[in-house]
Amino acid sequence: MKIHACDYTDFRELNQAVGESADETVVIDRCVGQRYIGCGISGKEIQITGTPGNALGAYLDGGTIRLKGNAQDATGDTMNDGKILIDGNSGDAAGYAMRGGKIFIRGDAGYRAGIHMKAYEDKIPVLVIGGKAGSFLGEYQAGGVIIVLGLGAEKTPVGNFCGTGMHGGKIFIRCKRLPHDLPPQVKARRASAEDLSSIEGILSEFCKEFSVSKKELENEHFYLLTPDSANPYKQLYVTN
């Protein structure tokens, strides 16, 4: 099914059309900022060109969303499963509280990417950012894997306050120098061969999806950030 997004100025009608389509693949072209596309769906492939609005693929529960263009804020908010591929940049709060599935962003991500990311049983969410990430990357991260590749970036490809409140999961950053303001509870080290082999599959998938040469990734080393405790608040209180 093919939908011309311009025919629907209202996001509600557009999303209803997507929801009602029996086709497994739905193509939306000339998207002009309609919000909540693919919200809570599963089992479909949605191909989008143009610029979808906020909360693309929020609560996504399976299936794939492919976007040729830039995404706005809150992509994949609280997503549970499935895959969101953005061949462009993303706005703020991509992957907020995601618990499963994958978000691949070819270009840059805005502020607060991957914050509150979790993991649960066999679900390990993955967020890969091809370019740079804004400030507060992985804030309150409780699980999952965030990878920032910094392709085309000259400096360390993350903003300020990376990993603030992080208490689980991993952040890989491909860079020469670590961010200068890592919080004290975050441990950073050069990723070992073993660490890298754990994300090998993800990187190959990313490279394949966006035709990035994997060789290019190898010319720079990765740092791995992990929290030193799953219980950052333990010592804070006294019973009154």
Binding site: F11, R12, N15, G19, R35, Y36, C39, G40, S42, N54, A55, A58, Y59, D61, D73, A74, D77, T78, N80, D92, A93, Y96, A97, R99, R112, I115, H116, K118, A119, Y120, F136, E139, Y140, A142, G143, G165, H167, G168, A230, N231, P232, Y233, K234, Q235, L236, Y237, V238, T239, N240
Partner: protein, 500 residues
């Protein structure tokens, strides 16, 4: 350093009654009682006692009582014993003081300074036992919009609503902060009563999906246990922006409590802290709130009302006005006396405002702006009796939330030690041997009893006023008079003084 603090409460045992059956010893999770083999009698360590009355209630010979200690610092109206002890605690640990349940301090209780009207002579009162009396209410947008088909016929259309047999709901308490059996009691009682209970931010246990029609599922900043099926499982979705006991402060369930089923229901690994920071880091404006409201509506296909819960704070009227324009169907306002499983003492005791004032000012503001029908208003934060319910509704609420009252009917004795996880009444604990003390058959029955009794009382008060429908009481502030209130207070409450 010397750290001994004389306990606030003392365990008093009448040796002439005690038969050393050791029930108190087994019942006290704080291990305050023990049997002294040498002396052949029971002994008590009052410093361990939290004053929960479990032992007192279960002692077969009524040999126990707990009394307030008469041990005292030198009397000082400024440096009270509490302030002094708190300093000692902080000086020895460096910790933030942590408390539970609602603000216990002596702030004014406006409900107790408001009196209800009754009819005499001219407008006859109604006998609820003999005449029909409606306590049913619907929560949701009351849209004035009329939709017609192409032939001009009116199409029946309402925004999604919650139907309540009586305007009372059980407010948010998460599985994790309270026990499985407490949740089961609430869920079953809600079903039997035709009202709703609220999952809190801890997700929904699989076993309780069957009570979906009577469930409000909550979405907080940490988004624990939130996924598509969860959003569809309940009758309404609540976004938690704030909580009366700790406005501006987030929730934090320590990793030690994230075990077994709790980790499953919250969908996070065992042992990991569950952190829900105060702000949703994707909400910095009413526009952003609107985005979350609509993403939840989209995910649940516009079938469920969305509630936005905020704490009663200084600018509550302006905030509520924004919320009413965000697309939310219901605003829940939580007053500063609202309970909590754990909150920093300073926040609990000093932040926020009384629900009575917040409610009155929100209702007035929304009316002034002509947007009162955009939303229903639900208030909580220490509704203690049916009279409080009647007063809240006359001040402008559509319904109330109760939590502390509900826990009290489950056996809570307000010992305010929920944060310890050792609740002897099986409520604020996850220890299996304690949880099983709360029997959900009995618990749910007691909740049903409480709400049924309140319902009768509400009908009697309504009948007395000559009102036979809860809808006619809503916002009917002429039915209220203040007593001992100053002009500013009366102005905010929008009521006259008694005698006027």
């Amino acid at each position: 350093m010397i750290n001994y603090l004389y306990p606030d409460y003392e365990i008093v045992r009448d040796p002439s009654k005690c038969i050393a059956c050791r029930v108190c010893e087994r019942q006290c999770a704080n291990e305050a009682h023990s049997f002294d083999e040498e002396a052949g009698c029971m002994v008590a360590d009052s410093s361990r006692c939290v004053n929960c009355h479990r032992c007192v209630s279960l002692c077969p010979t009524r040999a126990l009582k707990i009394v307030k200690s008469d041990h005292t610092f030198k009397q000082n109206a400024n440096w009270t014993g509490d302030r002094i002890t708190e300093i000692y605690k902080q000086a020895s640990t460096g910790g933030v003081l942590l408390s539970s349940m609602g603000n216990p301090n002596a702030f004014p209780i406006y409900f107790d300074k408001i009196l209800i009207n009754a009819s005499q002579v001219t407008n006859p009162s109604i006998d609820p036992l003999r005449e029909p009396m409606e306590t049913k209410t619907f929560l949701g947008k009351k849209t004035g919009e009329i939709r017609r088909d192409e032939k001009g016929r009116i199409l029946p259309y309402t925004e999604p609503q919650i139907e309540l047999s009586v305007p009372i709901m059980f407010s948010a308490m998460s599985y994790g902060s309270i026990s499985y059996n407490a949740h089961e009691s609430l869920a079953r009682a809600a079903q039997e009563l035709g009202i709703l209970y609220n999952t809190g931010e801890g997700g929904l246990h699989e076993d309780f999906r069957q009570y979906g029609a009577n469930t409000i599922v909550q979405v907080a900043s940490g988004r624990f246990g939130v996924y598509k099926d969860y959003l569809e499982a309940g009758a309404a979705i609540e976004i938690k922006m704030g909580q009366g006991a700790k406005p501006g402060i987030g929730g934090h369930l320590p990793g030690t409590k994230i075990v077994g089923d709790i980790s499953k229901t919250r969908m996070i690994p065992e042992g990991s802290d569950a952190i829900s920071p105060a702000p949703h880091h994707d909400i910095y404006s009413i526009e952003d709130l609107r985005q979350l409201v609509f993403s939840l509506k989209e995910a649940s296909e516009y079938k469920k009302p969305v509630i936005v819960k905020i704490a009663a704070v200084h600018n509550v009227a302006a905030i509520a006005s924004g919320v009413a324009r965000s697309g939310a169907d219901i605003i829940a306002i939580d007053g500063f006396r609202g309970g909590t499983g754990a909150a920093p003492t300073r926040i609990r005791d000093n932040v926020g405002i009384p629900i009575e004032l917040a409610l009155a000012s929100v209702d007035s503001r929304l009316r002034e702006e002509g947007i009162r029908d955009n939303v229903s208003i639900v208030v909580g934060g220490s509704i203690r009796s049916s009279a409080d319910v009647v007063k809240a509704i006359a001040l402008g609420a559509d319904a109330v939330y109760i939590a502390t009252a509900a826990l009290l009917s489950l056996g809570c004795h307000l010992c305010r030690s929920c944060q310890s996880g050792k609740c002897n009444w099986g409520i604020a604990t996850q220890r299996p041997e304690l949880v099983k003390r709360l029997n959900p058959d009995i618990g749910s029955q007691r909740l049903v009893n409480l709400v049924t009794a309140w319902k009768h009382e509400i009908m009697e008060m309504m009948g007395g006023m000559g009102i036979n429908s809860i809808e006619a009481l809503k916002g009917n502030r002429l039915m209220l008079r203040g007593i001992g209130l100053n002009e500013k207070e009366l102005e905010i409450l929008g009521i006259k003084h008694a005698g006027e």
